[in-house]
Each structure stands twice: as C-alpha cells, then as structure tokens.
Amino acid sequence: MNDIDEGTIHAWLDGAVDATQSREIESHVAQCATCSAAVAEARGLVAGASRILNALDDVPAGVTPKRASAPRRQWRAAPWVTGIAAALMLGIGVSQWNRDGLRRAAEKDTLVKPEPVTALAAPAESVPPESVPPTSTAPPPASVRPSGPQQRARARQLASADVALRRDTARRETARVFADTTRSIGSVASPTAGAAQGAAVTATPSALPTPAPSEASAKRVVGRSALADAPTVQLRGVVAASALEEQPIDKSILSRLAGCYYTGATPPIVRLDTARSAPGYLVRAEASGSSIGWWHRIDDALIRVNLSAGATLNLGQKNRATCPEKR
C-alpha cells in the first residue's frame, strides 16, 4: 500500500471507512514511519479543531457579570423582537400593578428573578422616548440619569443596546403593541389578581421591579435591577401614553386568528385561544392543553406570542396548522 492520503486518514479517524479498509490502514501504519507520523499529526488536528470550535460557544451565564445581556441560555428572538417583548411585559406589568402596590414595592426595594429580566433588559431600554406619542407624561431620561461609575457603565451598555434597536419599525411596533397590551389587560388593578390565573400571569411579576408612572416615583426609579435604570423611564412614558388608547381586537378578527399554529420551537404546536387572561389572550400547548403564555396581534401578517417561560415567538399565516382531533 502506498502512503495513505490525508483525506483517508481523517476518514479512518472519523470511523468512516469500512472494516476491511480499516484493517489495511492499521497494518500499514504499523510499519510505515511516514504514515505513522501523518496519523499522529491528523489526530492533533482533529483534537485541535474540536477545541477551537468549542471555544466558539458562549461562556456560561453569570460569568461575565458586567453585561446584563450575558445570560443567553434561554431562547431569544432577534434583539428588536426581544425589545418589543420586554417593552410589552413592562407595559403589562406597569399597567397591571396599581400605583399603591408599586410604590410599596419600590419602597421595599423588591428584587425579582434576574434571569428573564436581564435577558430582556438591555435591548428594551433603548426604545427612545421621542417615538412615543406626544402625550407621554414621562420626564426625559436625562433628568433621571443616575451618576456613579457603575451607572455610567450601565449607560454605556444601554447606548450599545441603542444600536440594536435603531429601527423605525421597532418603534412603531412598540407603540402598537402597547396599545394592544393595554387594551387586553383592561381593568386588572391588583397585583395578586394574576396569581390564580395560571402561567401567563405568573411571568409578569418577574419582569417588574419598577414603580408606576407617577411623577413622584419616576425620579426614584434608580433601582437594583437592570430594568430600573433611567431608560425604563422612557418605557413608562410609553405605557402612560398608550394607556390613553383603547383598541380591542375585533371579534371577527379574533375568531379568525384563534386556532392552532406550528411554532418551530417548543412546544411544536400551540393553540391561540379567544379566552383572556390578565395580560392578553391565552396561548395553550396543544398537546397538553395547559396555558403557557399569551398572544397579541401585531398586524395582518404577524402575531406575537409571549411564553411565560420567557421566549417570544412570531407567528404568521405560514405557521397555521389544523388542530388535532379532540381526545
């Protein structure tokens, strides 16, 4: 046997040659110094390449504490979608908690589960206030910008998140999404109302350290979670503005949109319900029937689903599915 070519050596190391050829190679390598050296080099390249590719993977969550967006374990949509989802969750939260409840929460400095918050915080905070309808009552972010090195670092993070969200579509959609959100949460006044209503609402408190959009508490926003920083003021302003708009989903549209959809994610099929929970219309896992989140109509082509687990899905006509036979 002549000297073995490199491709064959790698195929042999990868277990891609048949038993006969494998035996031939083995016996040849045993008596051929050149090939033996080539095999050793190939083994080194296989291992080295593997190591390098492993280095491509993200560092584990929490290792890089300086970046609020570092924990990336959970499923995330594109930054601008995440931003809208975060804005949506904040909007839900702020409107849902009455002012007293929130002021109390702010005073107690209640910290909430950091993970879903931080994953959403950075992109969300960069929604600029000028995109909001002029009826916004929030003070401009500059007036509440905190001082100190940590906050300056945070401000720089947020500036970088600005880059991610410099999209007109995102801003317009945020305003529209808020309108939908506010409409769907209706008259929920108490923070505890959600507790009995299942997973969809349980997710909400976890996104919510911030106080209500009142002037007094606005200035006290500077808090311990990423969401409580200055740009959150912008979002509160947006919420306050959209609270003035009330646009329910037309019933005929609602029944047309409800039904089953393929998600291409977990779970694979969801059912959009016409029933409402506090933040919005219910989403159920089709397989189990349990409610797992809520949905909103963005426009004719797009439905936004927010799962309590923290993920956000975009569904369109292409995702429509026939609901399976009832068991």
Binding site: D14, A42, D58, V59, K66, A77, V163, G264
Partner: protein, 171 residues
C-alpha cells in the same frame, strides 16, 4: 404530532449549536432553527432526518435574504459591545475566554463556506454519509474536505494568536 416532538427533541439543540457556531449570532441561529423545523413539519417523511435538517438549515443561512442587513446589524452590535465592554474590567478568566472566543471566531471565518459547514456538521456528530447528503458532496470527498478544514482552522488560529502576541510585545 408525536413525530414532531421527537424530531425537535433529538435535533433542536445540535442544530442551534451548529448554527450559532456557523453564524456567530445566537439569535439569528434560533431564527433559522425555528424556520427549519417549521419546514420539517411540512415535509412529512425524510430519508435521513439529521442530514435533511442540517441541509435545510445550511441552505437557509446561505439564502437568507436578510443576511446583509443582519450582518450589518450584527457587526454594529459587535462593535458596540466592544465599546461597552472596554469600560469595565472583567475577571482574568473571562478575558482569556473572551479572547479565545474572538480568536476562534476569526479562525473559523477564515475557512471557506463549504469547509466550515462540513467541519461544524462533523462536530455535531453527522457521519460522512449525512455530510455528503447535506452538502451535496461526493462521499469520497468528505474526508479530504474535513482534513483540509481542520488543518486550515488550526493554522489560522495559531497564526492569529501569534499575531496577537506579537502586537502585545511590540507595545
């Protein structure tokens, strides 16, 4: 329905990892993976599921009409992140790991598309038949492709690392 769940359970994570390494952007990777599984649902029977999924995902990446916009935004994000990161001093191990990751990223980008894809698929456990099918290569050429890819990757990485060291010493 039961099939869908199984498909997802078995292949979603490796597919996302492959795509994340391929694209350097986890959000983009998740989007492509989602699109791939939606298509899988429509497909019905597949000869070789893993090869099919990786082939579709690979083609989606190549055809991604939004690739340029995404790439621009991705680059914007990267440079913005770089600026933001320069403010705070991370612990030493984070710094090393981040540097390794950046080096690895540049090294893998030095490969040509086919070599890169073949190598990343191999890392996710695809066998030679599956790689050949997914990338429309002849079975015989897979070994050569992988050997070339591995050599170029390691050489590129070492060269970049040495360049980096050289720069630091010169300062």
């Amino acid at each position: 329905m039961h099939d869908v769940e199984r498909l997802f359970r078995e292949y979603h994570d490796p597919l996302v990892r492959y795509l994340t390494r391929r694209l350097g952007d986890r959000d983009w990777a998740e989007d492509v993976a989602q699109e791939t599984f939606v298509r899988a649902l429509r497909q019905g029977e597949m000869q070789n599921e893993r090869a099919w999924l990786f082939a579709v995902a690979t083609n989606l990446v190549r055809d991604d009409a939004r690739k340029d916009t995404r790439r621009r935004r991705h680059l914007e994000l990267l440079s913005a992140e770089a600026k933001a990161e320069s403010v705070v001093e991370p612990p030493i191990t984070d710094l090393e790991r981040a540097q390794e990751r950046a080096l690895a990223r540049r090294a893998i980008d030095a490969l040509n598309e086919r070599d890169r894809e073949a190598l990343l698929m191999r890392e996710e456990g695809l066998n030679y038949n599956e790689i050949a099918e997914a990338l429309q290569l002849s079975l015989a050429s897979v070994g050569t492709t992988l050997s070339r890819a591995r050599r170029r990757l390691v050489e590129a990485y070492e060269q970049l690392r040495d360049e980096g060291l050289g720069t630091r010493e010169a300062l």
